[in-house]
Amino acid sequence: MRWFWIDRFTEFVSGQYATAVKNVTLAEEAVDEYVPSWPYLPASLVIEGMAQTGGLLVGQLSDFRQRVVLGKINRCQFHGQAFPGDTLHFRAQLTSLQANGAFVSGTVEKCGKPFCELELMFAFLTDERFDDVQLFEPAALCRMLRLLRMFEVGVNPDGSPISVPEQMVAAEKAVLLSSTP
């Protein structure tokens, strides 16, 4: 199942903020079928888009070794609905990084106008309790990040490009080798 609720990153500054774009389209089942004859992107999926933008911003800080999950939606306010043809611009700002979680402040604009403001809390699943749990297979996550163009736009605070984590590169190679006849 595909579960991309942003189309691609447009900016990504490690440990600071990320912006992403999402084009709402009638081709998406959730848009077409959530309310028959009134196609729009459900609010929960807009929130998911911000969770993906912010969650990946948080996860990148640990080279995606940390198990980052959305813990709470602390605040959320919408100013309308997003319809097919609308373009959403997400901006996630990392406001606090703690030992066991992180906080992200997010804004979404629809066609250049304020559409949604929200604050999200992410929790880190600890090794003590979730040592045998892998949220994402590294090669699959790496492919997702490449599709979202994170490594094309991502930079460190000093402007140098972020790199693909070593364990992901190794996992990609392993997948390629195993699929080569």
Partner: protein
């Protein structure tokens, strides 16, 4: 431990924000879990808000002494031993542990913390 109004108001604000409860629901005697419905994930949020409101750092073990509660040296048959209780009292002088001491079942520990305990803890940290 006396708690001043300013501390209580800031703690109340953090709890109202984090737990979505009404102002008048937050009283010093209310327990965080039983009365205000706090879940484990909420404590991360509450700690974050308190750290910001009071400009303090709150080490996890101050409020959640898992190193004691999960240590077989201090827990037998799911209950905290006398040595364990002594250590808890030492670690958490701000908390009223009398009810827990009467029946120190480990699983019930998290249900003991009250709003008043939290205020006392913050006061202790601020005045340290």
């Amino acid at each position: 431990m006396p708690v001043n109004d300013e501390v209580f108001e800031k703690v109340k604000s953090a709890l109202v924000d984090a737990l979505g409860v009404d102002d008048d629901e937050v009283e010093p005697s209310k327990t965080m879990v039983g009365d205000l419905g706090a879940e484990s994930i909420d404590f991360l949020d509450i700690v974050f808000k308190l750290e910001h409101a009071f400009s303090i750092k709150i080490p996890r073990e101050d409020l959640f002494p898992e190193d004691i509660l999960q240590n077989t040296a201090y827990v037998q048959n799911g209950r905290v031993t006398g040595d364990g209780l002594a250590l808890l009292r030492q670690r958490m002088p701000f908390a009223d542990l009398s009810k827990f001491e009467a029946n120190p079942v480990v699983q019930d520990f998290a249900k003991q913390l009250t709003v008043g305990d939290l205020c006392s803890y913050v006061s202790m940290k601020v005045n340290a």
